[in-house]
């Protein structure tokens, strides 16, 4: 996975959390981080720009995290490619998380979170959702890197 090329969407009604996640990602060279303060804006962005991963708050005015995820699964996912969605939430009751899981969320991160947790969960979600074509591309890139390094 090439983190520099990753295109991330951060959806949270808390501007401080959006700013923090964007800073953490910037710190590991992720160049493209878009932000949305609510679900409707998030979907507009997802319709307009290619996004590799969504970090999504659970509780928001209007559309909540599961509602946004259902819209992503119904409208944004294409050709067997599921956009990985990670819910970042301060509410980790099992019932609530199960609703999100049924909506199609890949993983959960509890607030407050560590940088290590955030980045490890992103890496895991991306590797789970890689399509065969992406895995082939990555394998070819690695082969090329090995050849350059040898």
């Amino acid at each position: 996975m090439i983190w520099e090329d990753l295109r991330v969407l951060v959806v949270d009604d808390n501007a401080n959390i959006r700013r923090l996640i964007a800073t953490i990602l910037q710190g590991v060279n992720v160049k493209s981080v878009r932000e949305a303060a609510n679900g409707h804006t998030a979907l507009e962005i997802l319709r307009s720009f290619p996004i590799d991963l969504v970090l999504l708050d659970y509780v928001m005015e209007g559309m909540d995290g599961p509602a946004v995820t259902r819209a992503v699964r119904g409208e944004i996912d294409r050709d067997g490619r599921r956009v990985p969605v990670i819910v970042v939430t301060g509410y980790s009751e099992v019932a609530r998380l199960n609703v999100a899981k049924e909506a199609g969320v890949n993983d959960f991160i509890a607030k407050p979170f560590t940088t290590k947790t955030l980045l490890q969960r992103i890496a895991r979600a991306l590797s789970q959702d890689m399509t065969l074509k992406e895995m082939e591309t990555l394998a070819l890139q690695r082969q090329r890197q090995l050849r350059v390094g040898s």
């Binding site: 959390i17 710190g27 998380l97 991160i109 560590t114």
Partner: protein
């Protein structure tokens, strides 16, 4: 450059320090780390008055601790690669700061408070400001325009955060109601 951003100027009210060219140590990757650290310190100050302040403060504090570790590792690799003669003493200062941050995190986790978060923000801002200008600048002549410094600085990346299991696991299976 505005007064607000003048390096070394922390007089009076807690003026925020942000990165400016005066802080450049001649290694772009390290300069980028310093920018991130100043940004996180600023976020720490803002966290006290933020919506869902506890969650924000806890997350920013964890990010600061993680990023301090990450940055120090990079800087120590660079100092070693360029044969900086004071590397050992510099790394010892890093070790002392790491301990101090760990202590803040431990105290905060035991008893979260905005006062403690602000105390850490002020302490780190002072520390970083003076550490860059007084200590980091001393390796600049060794590292600037030095390919070995550039290679060493780029040798640390995302894998730094992947090398051990995170300990803040949550999820339906892992956290009972």
């Amino acid at each position: 450059m505005s007064d607000k951003n003048s390096p070394g100027d922390l007089k009076g009210a807690r003026r925020r320090v942000s990165w400016s060219a005066a802080f450049s140590v001649g290694v772009p990757e390290i300069d980028a780390d310093h920018r991130i650290l100043f940004e996180l310190i600023g976020q720490m100050r803002d966290a006290a008055t933020a919506f869902e302040g506890d969650m924000v403060t806890g997350s920013v504090l964890a990010a600061l601790a993680d990023y301090v570790d990450y940055h120090f590792e990079r800087e120590e690799r660079v100092m070693e690669a360029v044969g900086y003669p004071e590397e050992k003493q510099h790394a010892e200062r890093h070790a002392r700061l790491r301990k101090k941050v760990e202590e803040f995190v431990r105290r905060y986790n035991q008893e979260p408070s905005d006062g403690l978060a602000n105390e850490l923000a002020e302490f780190l801002e002072d520390w970083l400001n003076h550490h860059i200008l007084d200590e980091d600048m001393r390796y600049r002549p060794y590292a600037e325009n030095n390919r070995a410094a550039s290679v060493a600085a780029s040798s640390i990346g995302i894998e730094f955060f992947m090398d051990s299991e995170d300990d803040a696991v949550t999820g339906p299976e892992e956290r009972p109601a």
